[in-house]
Symmetry: D2
Subunit: 270 residues, 4 copies
Amino acid sequence: MSSRPAHRHTPAALRFVLEGSGVWTLVNGDAVHMAPGDLILTPSWSWHEHHNPGTEPMIWFDGLDLPLVRNLDAIFFEPGGEELSSYQPALASRSEDCYGTAGLLPAADEPVIVEDPATGRSSRLLAYRWAAVDAALSRLTDSTGQRAAVIRYADPATGRDVMPTMRAELHRVLAGHRTQTTRTTGSGIWVVYHGSGATVIDGRRFHWSAGDMFVTPSWAAVDHEAADDADLFLLSDWPALAALGLARTRQAGQRQDVVAEEEGRGSACG
Amino acid sequence: MSSRPAHRHTPAALRFVLEGSGVWTLVNGDAVHMAPGDLILTPSWSWHEHHNPGTEPMIWFDGLDLPLVRNLDAIFFEPGGEELSSYQPALASRSEDCYGTAGLLPAADEPVIVEDPATGRSSRLLAYRWAAVDAALSRLTDSTGQRAAVIRYADPATGRDVMPTMRAELHRVLAGHRTQTTRTTGSGIWVVYHGSGATVIDGRRFHWSAGDMFVTPSWAAVDHEAADDADLFLLSDWPALAALGLARTRQAGQRQDVVAEEEGRGSACG
Amino acid sequence: MSSRPAHRHTPAALRFVLEGSGVWTLVNGDAVHMAPGDLILTPSWSWHEHHNPGTEPMIWFDGLDLPLVRNLDAIFFEPGGEELSSYQPALASRSEDCYGTAGLLPAADEPVIVEDPATGRSSRLLAYRWAAVDAALSRLTDSTGQRAAVIRYADPATGRDVMPTMRAELHRVLAGHRTQTTRTTGSGIWVVYHGSGATVIDGRRFHWSAGDMFVTPSWAAVDHEAADDADLFLLSDWPALAALGLARTRQAGQRQDVVAEEEGRGSACG
Amino acid sequence: MSSRPAHRHTPAALRFVLEGSGVWTLVNGDAVHMAPGDLILTPSWSWHEHHNPGTEPMIWFDGLDLPLVRNLDAIFFEPGGEELSSYQPALASRSEDCYGTAGLLPAADEPVIVEDPATGRSSRLLAYRWAAVDAALSRLTDSTGQRAAVIRYADPATGRDVMPTMRAELHRVLAGHRTQTTRTTGSGIWVVYHGSGATVIDGRRFHWSAGDMFVTPSWAAVDHEAADDADLFLLSDWPALAALGLARTRQAGQRQDVVAEEEGRGSACG
């Protein structure tokens, strides 16, 4: 059994769980259990701590906006006490009890956008469960008849991104499909959750399979091709660029040429 | 079998289904089946038509913002052709496929609030199913330990009310509980969906049971008491008052006195 | 000397001064002097009283949103005491001291749009002086080389309309010019402040000169033709329609035909 | 005579003029003359070029958001042709003709906040003249009776900061007054335009006079004391911090102690 004691800081974190079970995190007193495929938030300046009551490790992808917050000289940190760690985790967090159904909000939540500059603007929902994501993507591909679909994780009470600094998306590409070639400002970190395939980045093709990660630089031409049905988790800094008037995107009329085949670094070292 | 041909108009409508089955409505080409307890929207200026392929009637509560739109001299009406009526309804509408999961939005939906004055601002989700409402209310009462809970129906992509002119809520009051006495500007129309109890309006107590309707005038003191577990659907014009700077609310420190017991008009006429 | 004692009410008023001098109004303790051509606001629920220390009358056009507020059952009224009437009016009100220069705001005013549903959203600037309006219109016609210009009175801190329920505009049409034919939802009340000319409303031409007033119904085809350089003050309910998703406008490709010449009712009764 | 040819880039610039005359800049085809004390904007991705038809230099403080845009990997640059440089500058730019009067907007400008992530959100007004700033500050100190006043440069059509990445303010401190001690996140660059005095930064006092510049780090305790009436121009990155949920401010209950007297680096090198 291991745990990390409560603390809070202005850099925000999100975690996409890859392996393990039984772990839970406590966010401002709300116990959130974690399972593979779930996206779990610890918003800026929220008290949080992690608990693994078992003996097996859990592995997650941990995304923070630390470089941006550091560049802006806005890092604050506060250690907490020990008194919060005795919670018993339930299967659903309070945030899921309150915000877990589409279009049904606790009545006290007014649809007024108040952008309090001092308190941040993170999602009220702290956990996005894989089963719901999987079903939503299946409905989208079934409904549209298309071979690819993208969902954006959002605050159910405002539709805004999960954090003011970070966007999270899940890209599903069905076997044999290649997506449109697109450029966007801002960089992306991709986690392959299911399947295998390749991504072409500025003409260079990188092959991947489940468990791999790769990054796409700002304004690179990017498209994906799935060998098997693939699920790619994406973390980007798009909300920061949008808020600052720097967001741009361009879709190429046709898919880019592949001019180089790359071996991933993992393979190269193997 | 009966149907209403396609048409559209600027007054918006919402329908809370009370009895029947097999009926569906077509909203801008999206087939939406209807069942008891569901809330179904036909937003301002959307093409719509209703179909009952069976032989039994369906009964719903039909709420429109017609008086307000007429007062503002803004009624437009356009009849449509017959070509839309051949759709086969699926169990879930396209709007539910796209917006039916809390916090998971199609990626094209940017979290930007654009208040286009010409096109209205209604919810992207057209159907709110009773099973989801029922479960959300149960989670709220379980999670808070309180004997009453209220959910507001909202656009899952913005959190705003279902219509710019109308708010819809579901109030659950558990057996034996009496709610706080509250005043709000704007009028309310209440539909008793489950249970029985009474509502005190400016000191006068009105008893109700499933299938009854009653209204509460602007700024009246209002509270509810449930004899059995009760579900009350509320339609109000709060969003219009809020948009115009006229929304006010006040919660009394204690529950109002009951100075008169009223028989409902339905009973009096019986 | 005459005065009206302090009171406040939820219906909002705006006043476009036509004749007289020396009168001032007190709005939430801010003394605002009044002169011909000025637009003066008394926002919803603001304390106000009017003072005429002289012996000559002042004449103004008084625009209220009373019908809309009454239709929404949201009228509140509160009488005040006598203690506010001893103020000495300065040439510029506090609101002009703080918000009277374009693009220069008191630093405490954050550019955050908080739509508090309970307190209204009226302009921080209470007086718009004729000399400034006149100069702004001259700069617009000089800058664009066009024979007509329209300015909208706005909150200098947000750009929004002066009231959530009412829009005010000043339309200048130079001698000999006829404006485009336009339809909008919502009704308009027009006050001729300078010049003479005619307005065509759904094919009927009405002649006017300084001091006349006329109205244009919702969705009527409207254009103006100036015989002399003309200034027309317009009060409309556009913000209410826009907030409720009912605002529409259409500009005709060419000017409408005139099918009838109308004598004004005043002339007809003379 | 010298000039810089037209070009555009995503980093935005603002210029606070210190000395010189006769110079003008062309921003998207709008000729803007420059004089001491004026703040002149060249928003992100606007075509611009500078012209000095005379023989004397002009000196200005040039503020750019280049470090932030570079950190976000969002720099774009496009060189332009030569054809724009034949404009004759008028005393007032088109932007001043259209947006130069408080609360009076061209009627086409709707008060709708559309945050287009692709096009930026800079002020419609490109020039803020010193005479107007000086008069606005005098009215504020006269109206409030206080010995210090701050105005924020804003978009007259929305009230938002001049750039999504940068805030500009003018701080006036009258002789003998010391301001409250305040901490804010984000860094500040200060330009002393008039007067002399000192600024205490985390307990160290720095003396300054007209023409000096100094910087204040994020979260430093800062207050100013004027020996003569002083005008301090401030450029900060507050809007970026606010948009990202990182803006914080704290006002100390009393003024900080001075623990060290510093000689400015300029003096030390003299």
